[in-house]
């Protein structure tokens, strides 16, 4: 496990396992170094700050537990969100870490997720007549209501579960789509947006 390429992956895997058992802040570099069989200094070399570790661990957990379904139409997007929220309820500690990682300053510049790119593509394809500003704020609002952050906030502050959070998402998505200038959306998008 001391191969140069595998070390960070092994550290992240060791951290990911612990997320369900304890608060992320309690996971020490020392215990990770012991688990992987390397020195603590090596852990620091790969993850100079805890934000680096947080980001990488969240990415690994996302790939492992919450891999987003590919979608190319509105029904597919909504289904993907429903599934994601459902998976978050199944693994709340890991989902909360995702939400937390999304709210720290990006470790390496601005990073658009696969999900955000897919939503943007969907909006652009369905409503080519929408001006760039409306397109961008529509896509960003949809993503923000489909995010782990929305799930986490609704769960902590409102005691809501996946099913209800999905309904919140659907109402918000419906209003956001309705807010676009009249005639911009083809009928198919609006039909897809009805609850």
């Amino acid at each position: 496990m001391t191969d140069a390429n595998d070390t960070p992956t092994a550290v992240v895997a060791a951290a990911a396992v612990r997320v369900a058992e304890t608060s992320f802040d309690e996971i020490s570099y020392r215990e990770l170094s012991t688990a992987v069989g390397i020195s603590e200094r090596t852990v620091y070399r790969h993850f100079p700050t805890r934000a680096h570790l947080l980001t990488r661990t969240a990415l690994a957990l996302e790939a492992q537990l919450f891999a987003p379904t590919v979608f190319t139409d509105w029904a597919g997007l909504h289904e993907a969100v429903a599934q994601r929220f459902g998976a978050f309820d199944q693994h709340p500690a890991e989902a909360a870490l995702l939400a937390r990682a999304a709210s720290v300053s990006a470790v390496s510049g601005y990073d658009s997720s696969f999900f955000a790119a897919s939503v943007s593509a969907l909006v652009e394809e369905t409503a080519p007549g929408l001006n760039p500003r409306d397109r961008r704020r529509t896509a960003s609002a949809l993503c923000w209501f489909a995010s782990a952050g929305f799930w986490a906030r609704c769960r902590t502050a409102f005691g809501a579960e996946a099913e209800e959070i999905y309904r919140f998402y659907r109402s918000s998505a419906r209003e956001v789509l309705r807010a676009a200038p009249e005639g911009t959306w083809p009928q198919t998008a609006l039909v897809g947006s009805q609850a």
Binding site: S23, A102, S103, S105, S140, A141, F145, S172
Partner: protein, 201 residues
Amino acid sequence: MIGPAAEAEIIAEQLGLNRTSAEILAAYVELIEELGTDDVSMKLIARRAGVGERTIFRHYATRTDLLLGAASWADRVVFARPDYDSVFDLPLALRQTMTAYGQRPDLAFLVAEAMMRGAAGTDPAPSREHLERLLWQEIPDLQEDERRSVLAALCHLDSAGTWVALQREFGMAVHDIADAAAWSAEATLNPLRSRTGAHYG
């Protein structure tokens, strides 16, 4: 020194903080802005707040407690929401709030992250009470499920997380973030406009 004096004292009381705690948090928040979250020592906080290091530990047993305290303080004092007494004024207030986050990004990230630590973190929906009261007053016949849905959406938008998400995932500039957040809140409120109580309409 605690920011704009009178206001900060009221907020300290609301957060259940005594004067010393409030002074420690105010000092820490100032230092985070100057040095970043990773580089502020206890010694420095103590000196800035004019207390001993032991006093800090008596008020905040762990570094995490101190960080979470600073995050609530920053959101309530540094990013104090403008006063508004109609829920339909939230979009305008949001513009101001998002602009304030954009002017102090380090603190905005601190607040956003502290709210995403689950039950152990800071309240992820601090504007809930205010918005809930306005909704009751202005749209008294709102159904329970609809009220929850609108409230969740508005609280979500009125958070540092919104600024972070729009900045990080969409690379938006400060002005565009303020615009997008206000626009989303308008959209959320649209279906309620025709339903305000008789005494308003």
